[in-house]
């Protein structure tokens, strides 16, 4: 009996789902749906009846039609709304005809998309920024997801509307107290700071408003200054580390002479007083028409205390560099080696901090053994002599020996999706175009 009941309920749920997807000219189109078996003529191409994961559905408003109607009777109740064809409203009446049917299909990724990684050496934890489900996930540093095993479970998750986490990217972990700093890359326009122990749907300890399109964070602990890499208009404002609210930056690097262009990663060498910024080469002055142009991707190097429209000390740029949508950067304070997450290059590039011009990286971590998949985050764990990558493409973080070079297997993998999963790599889906020839949706980030 214990097996029969779930099967019967499952058949009933399936039948109700299929019934709801009948053609618009169905003879049942005007009757009220009830939870009963009906004849099924063909399986429709439209498969969605409700969210498959309860967490997403539960987060919807109480009157939402997709909100976790898991019981057959609940599903039946939800489908009575908007299940019939709606005729156009007469504009003379001033009324509007609502079409309230649920969507027939949904494209989305139900797993995390890791955009950034950092390590809390005080507490031996690794912190991952999830760009898809809007969360920060914390694991033990030595967590490893073996092949064939289910996804690893985080020690804690910071997630929910109170957190103000959206399309966050750059992170910084305070080496003394473990505070988590995270910058929002889209319309949030803010840096949020969480106490190390925070989890769940909690408000940030403090919020700092920063320019639109903030991408990366770096901190000079000696001077207690927070650097924010901003994509466009490209700039690097520098704040007091403990700044909050609408506090203005202490100084900012911005202007045509800087050669900043669609700026992304920022790394600091506080010993040698240098700042490194990488650029994608999309150039324009937004105040002046027709000033757009394209350049090769680059890494520009500045004095640590640079301000205003200042030229870089030197620039790494050219085809030998292999730079291809460079994202986060991290510097080994002991050697001065500069590690670059090279997104579309599917690699981690390592440059000497004295490099200049069209130079090849001194080391490249790349290849099928590495499990790298569109890496956008990189972090040098100097204490443990390891380098981490956050892989935007497959819901994993991978870690390698700091001296790794070539096609090397990771020491460990933290995986948050089924083995072999290929993520959708979506990020702020604001448009869709339909390719009628190939019957494909074209979806930009």
């Amino acid at each position: 009996m214990s097996r029969i009941i779930p099967i019967a309920v499952g058949i009933t749920v399936l039948a109700v789902c299929l019934f709801s997807l009948r053609p618009a000219n169905s003879p049942w189109s005007s009757i009220t749906v009830s939870p009963r078996l009906v004849s099924v003529q063909r399986f429709p191409e439209n498969e969605l009846c409700a969210f498959d994961d309860l967490a997403s559905a539960a987060a919807l408003p109480p009157d939402n039609l997709l909100r976790a109607p898991r019981s057959a009777s609940a599903i039946a109740r939800s489908l009575t709304v908007g299940s019939t064809s709606a005729y156009a409203a007469s504009q003379n009446s001033g009324e509007v005809a609502d079409i309230s049917r649920p969507p027939v299909r949904t494209i989305r990724d139900t797993y995390p998309t890791y955009s950034f990684v950092s390590v809390d050496n005080q507490h031996d934890q690794v912190v991952l920024q999830d760009n898809n489900l809007w969360s920060i996930r914390v694991f033990n540093r030595l967590e490893n997801t073996p092949p064939g095993a289910p996804p690893s479970v985080p020690k804690r998750i910071i997630q929910g509307p109170k957190t103000d986490i959206q399309f966050n990217n750059g992170m910084y972990i305070d080496p003394k107290n473990g505070d988590i700093y995270s910058v929002e890359t889209d319309t949030g326009d803010k840096v949020v700071v969480f106490d190390r122990t925070k989890q769940g749907d909690v408000e940030p300890t403090r919020i700092l408003r920063v320019p639109h399109r903030g991408f990366s964070l770096a901190v000079d602990e000696d001077k207690q200054e927070l650097y924010v890499g901003v994509q466009y208009p490209p700039q690097v404002p520098v704040y007091r580390k403990t700044a909050s609210g609408d506090e203005k930056p202490l100084r900012s690097l911005q202007g045509e002479s800087t050669r900043l262009s669609d700026a992304h990663g920022v790394a600091l060498d506080t010993k040698k007083k240098l700042m490194f910024v990488n650029n994608w080469g999309h150039v324009s002055d937004y105040l002046t028409a027709g000033t757009g142009r394209f350049e090769d991707a680059s890494i520009s190097v500045y004095p640590l205390d640079v301000r205003g429209d200042a030229a870089p000390l030197r620039v790494i740029q050219g085809p030998k560099t292999q730079l291809n949508w460079p994202a986060a950067m991290s510097l080994d304070p002991d050697t001065g080696d500069l590690y670059v997450a090279n997104d579309v290059g599917q690699s981690i590039l390592v440059f000497k901090e004295t490099d200049e011009g069209n130079v090849a990286p001194s080391r490249v971590i790349k290849g099928t053994k590495t499990h790298l998949s569109y890496p956008t985050g990189v972090f040098v764990d100097a204490k443990n002599k390891e380098v981490w990558a956050a892989n935007f493409g497959n819901a994993t973080a991978t870690v390698y020996p700091l001296s790794a070079n070539g096609n090397v297997a990771p020491l460990r993998i933290i995986r948050s999706a089924p083995e072999g999963y290929e993520g959708l790599r979506l990020g702020k889906v604001e448009a869709v175009a339909y390719d009628t020839k190939r019957e494909e949706y074209l979806v930009p980030n």
Binding site: Y87, Q91, R101, V432
Partner: protein, 270 residues
């Protein structure tokens, strides 16, 4: 944004279905903030802006991977300018009449020949106080809307604040709109309008997270003929809309959920 790809998904793709192909990488010249773009079915091309570089990119329809555009429009003669906040985020192609329509931050709609390449001037510019076009200025905290084209009835639909301005498709200079849909009953949302020409419907975003359907012949303070209350149904916001008349569906991208919903709406297309 972290990874500004253009991903292609099979029409029947569902949750966790990976893309069939993606346009990515330095060679593509694409960047973040691609908020409205087009597929041209007549010439099998993708027309999209490079929003941070004041450029219009044209790709093969089947472009894949690190494929460069077949041509692009950029330079001092183009008059292209976006906003600091919203950049140059929207473009529309009319494959029937071989034209590309680009709203820019100077309260103008630039029209380029579809085959133009390099540093070229627009073939005409719709601009002036009589047009009633009000777009954000370069320094404003706002984004430019996308326009819609009806190549059958020769109409250009321009969202401007809470209005839809309906022009003759060939309108140029300081030209008055033929009709204006505007007022509290309209529930207009300001997103890219699509025209389903056989029925003369304008499908566009509406207020309170909805998709609305108006007529190309509407004028004044008129409510939509239909409304799909997407946010009420799904809990997610609405960032645009696309139409698929063959399968009688509309697609709605929702930025806050990294999601594309497909709704079956045969009544609009029948």
């Amino acid at each position: 944004m972290t990874h500004p790809q253009i991903a292609a998904f099979a029409r029947l793709a569902k949750e966790n279905t990976p893309p069939t192909r993606t346009l990515i990488g330095q060679k593509t010249l694409i960047s973040r903030t691609m908020h409205a773009f087009d597929y041209d079915p007549v010439h099998d091309e993708i027309v999209v802006n490079s929003p941070l570089a004041q450029a219009i990119l044209i790709f093969r329809g089947g472009a894949n991977g690190e494929e460069p555009p077949v041509r692009y429009i950029q330079g001092p003669h183009t008059q292209i300018v976006g906003t600091g906040y919203g950049a140059l985020d929207a473009v529309t192609v009319d494959g029937v009449n071989n034209e590309i329509f680009l709203p820019v931050a100077s309260n103008s709609v630039l029209v380029f020949d579809r085959t133009a390449t390099g540093d070229v001037a627009p073939k005409r510019v719709l601009h002036g106080p009589d047009t009633q076009i009000q777009f954000p200025a370069p320094g404003d905290r706002g984004a430019l809307p996308a326009v819609g084209v009806d190549p059958i009835h020769n109409l250009l639909i321009v969202p401007s604040r809470a209005s839809l301005l309906i022009f003759d498709r060939n309108a140029s200079g300081n030209t008055k709109p033929l009709r204006v849909i505007s007022g509290p009953k309209t529930e207009l949302g300001g997103g890219k309008p699509h025209v389903y020409a056989p029925k003369g419907w304008i499908v566009a975003t509406a207020a309170r997270g909805a998709i609305g359907v108006w007529s190309i012949n509407d004028n004044g303070d008129v409510p939509p003929r239909w409304r799909i209350p997407v946010t009420k149904i799904t809990g997610m916001n609405v960032n645009g809309v696309e139409i698929d008349p063959v399968h009688k569906e509309i697609m709605v991208p929702t930025g806050n959920g990294n999601t594309v919903f497909t709704f079956s709406v045969p009544e609009i297309f029948d």
